[in-house]
Symmetry: C2
Subunit: 412 residues, 2 copies
């Protein structure tokens, strides 16, 4: 048979996604499968069994990443695909899960067809991609590529119960022995739902992801003085809340001024004592800045920080700043990106070149090998939401693109 | 003796304040004496005993206000003073308490001197002035003057445990039989700590309170759409948090533009889901506007409401508005205000004419009789705070002014 006409089995893919969705299932839909929880362990055990049923060799590394290998005809560096199977507390069925199940579906399709490519094909799922239970997010892939020392990662406490990541790996039986730090991989392709509204809005089947935008997360703490709202003249106030809110509006206006691919969000703000007639004495806010252009992102960061600092100074308010995340933009491999686009079009699918708005394991793998991503639409742009949805035919289309990209790459 | 040279006993006043401060005392200082709590009952019982020890006739009305009468030589409408003895959850020793204890000290001073004025002098404490346990604040004095029907007030549930105010009055034994609605009072003078920084900043002993500023409390609820901060283009967002924060900045800028006695505070803001990388889908904020000029206050209210509404419309966000309080400014009686000023100066005390920034029982009494207030400084402007403080000599000065104002008025 001609490998270029090979197609995955959409129904089988969907069934695997539904089966995986049972672990940590929420009443009414969606999943709660925090990293290294009991639900995650059950989902891992099931996924490993699926891998073994496909005659793949399964390795667990020291940070709990699981990599299953479908042997090639030669012992060359493998072509890897995969994603994650942990979810946020109120997650959907597709985020991460889709990339892993589609990888298995690609292998199942090759196996059924009796095809064995030149290079091995690996399907991986990485530990704690979401960051909902352990910080930072994308932790497993970050450790895999040597971006975070193993011992440091193992000592990260869980947000919910303070358990150490290393202890939790032991507890659920995923403290493996495969080494981390210098993976030898030919290339990495991650298939994922967009988690945004752009593909749906533009009625496009496949997002050809050129890279991941840079992310800057800051937390500002303003400490002022709490006083009576009725008896304290405006000139004598040290209003921490006002500092935060003015900074939030500055962020919104900066984003409008920068335009282009600049994003800015103030998602969290806590003010104390949070009473109608008391001037806030503390405000803790977060700022999420993103841009595909690293220089513009750094400029935005500097401007916001300077504004917040000046605002605090002017208001007689103490100011503290914590950098919670700082990732430079990642550009994916031009050849591999072009390969995604070519195969999508060859299958008659509409395509759009776009950056990834969210962080993904692929941006970590991009540090060590040529990497690309394939996006399929997210209904309503919803993700991290129990109503997360992608139509079955769209899931099938994405997996078929993945199949051909992996086949081409593994044949080299 | 010449009544105009009569002085209160500062040490005795201070002792009464300290004794009263034991009820609901917090470790490390301050008091937690929510209205109609067990601590409030104990403080009431103790205060009533103090009144009786001064040979005052004690009456409890149907809303639990306690009025003690020191008989005059004629059965004329009495001159009343007083305040409240309930506190907020982390209150000080002076707010309200000072006015009641100073009233008793005035009576004790007259009694010791064998002086009986022409009119009776009444010392009152009113139920639930703080509004920390039952809404609205100043409830007891409001019912007393007929501003809120008794049955409606008795049916108000407690914020903490849902108990009805009427049941709590029964429980603590303060559901009295004296009527409410049409009190016959010659005049009312309330002595109170400033609860703001102005007197201290200007090194002034006595605040001659000309009235109470108007208060407008609004709550705005913005309902938008929660989405991923990294994948949602700015143009497709419905950011409830941004609407609230822009409205907060509008309030600050409006206050600067209005100048004069316009105050504005955004004290409370709750955003959901309150996560760094999620666009807020809900923001609930409060706006506290105050002005001594009723027309300007209404203008400010209308401007803020219109801005918030327009902001929501522009952002594709739902908007709801609740009016939580709306009190027009109150002007005190010019003659009685002048009397406060005259007696303070006659005692060699510096004075400042000022509005009250906070609400007080006096503004309710002003609906039915000539009313005035006397302020003494608050250290650091602190109130509703366990560190609330006024120096003993300042407490004594205020009580001596009260003594002379009451004596003059009761002699008419």
């Amino acid at each position: 048979m001609n490998p270029q006409t090979l197609k995955i089995d959409g129904a089988r893919l969907l069934q695997r996604l539904r089966d995986l969705g049972r672990f940590g299932a929420l009443e009414g839909g969606g999943t709660n499968r925090l990293a290294l929880s009991d639900a995650d362990r059950a989902a891992r055990d099931w996924t490993v069994a699926q891998m073994q049923a496909l005659d793949m060799a399964v390795a667990v590394d020291a940070i709990g990443n699981v990599v299953a290998t479908y042997a090639g005809t030669e012992a060359l560096p493998p072509v890897m695909t995969g994603s994650h199977i942990d979810t946020v507390r109120t997650g959907g069925l597709y985020d991460g899960n889709y990339g892993v199940m589609a990888g298995l579906e690609v292998v199942a399709t090759l196996r059924d067809a009796g095809l064995r490519p030149r290079r091995p094909i690996q399907v991986a799922f990485f530990t704690n991609e979401e960051g909902a239970r352990f910080q930072p997010d994308m932790l497993g892939s970050l450790v895999l590529v040597g971006g975070l020392p193993l011992q440091q990662a193992l000592a990260v406490p869980a947000v919910d119960n303070g358990a150490l990541l290393g202890d939790e790996l032991q507890r659920i039986g995923y403290a493996g022995s495969a080494p981390v730090g210098r993976p030898v991989v030919d290339s990495f392709v991650e298939l994922h739902i967009e988690q945004g509204p752009v593909l749906e809005q533009q009625a496009t089947a496949i997002g050809v992801v050129e890279g991941v935008q840079g992310i800057c997360w800051m937390e500002f703490t303003f400490d002022g003085t709490s006083n009576h709202a009725g008896t304290t003249p405006m000139a004598l106030r040290h209003d921490a809340g006002e500092c935060a809110m003015r900074t939030a509006v500055f962020v919104a206006e900066l984003v409008a001024r920068y335009g282009g691919r600049q994003l800015g969000t103030v998602g969290a703000l806590q003010i104390r004592p949070n009473l109608i007639n008391v001037i806030p004495n503390q405000a803790v806010m977060t700022v999420d800045l993103r841009n595909t252009d690293g220089q513009r992102l750094r400029n935005a960061q500097a401007e916001v920080l300077a504004f917040a600092r000046a605002m605090a100074l002017r208001s007689g308010v103490q100011f503290q700043h914590r950098q919670l995340a700082d990732f430079a933009p990642v550009a994916f491999d031009a050849d591999l990106v072009a390969s995604v686009e070519r195969h999508a079009r060859a299958q008659g699918l509409s395509t759009l070149r776009m950056p990834s708005g969210a962080g993904h394991d692929a941006q970590m793998l991009a540090r060590v090998c040529p990497t690309a991503m394939v996006f399929v639409p997210s209904a309503g742009g919803l993700s991290h939401n129990v109503r997360e949805h992608t139509a079955p035919e769209q899931l099938e289309q994405g997996a078929n693109v993945l199949l051909q990209v992996l086949l081409e790459r593994a044949g080299r």
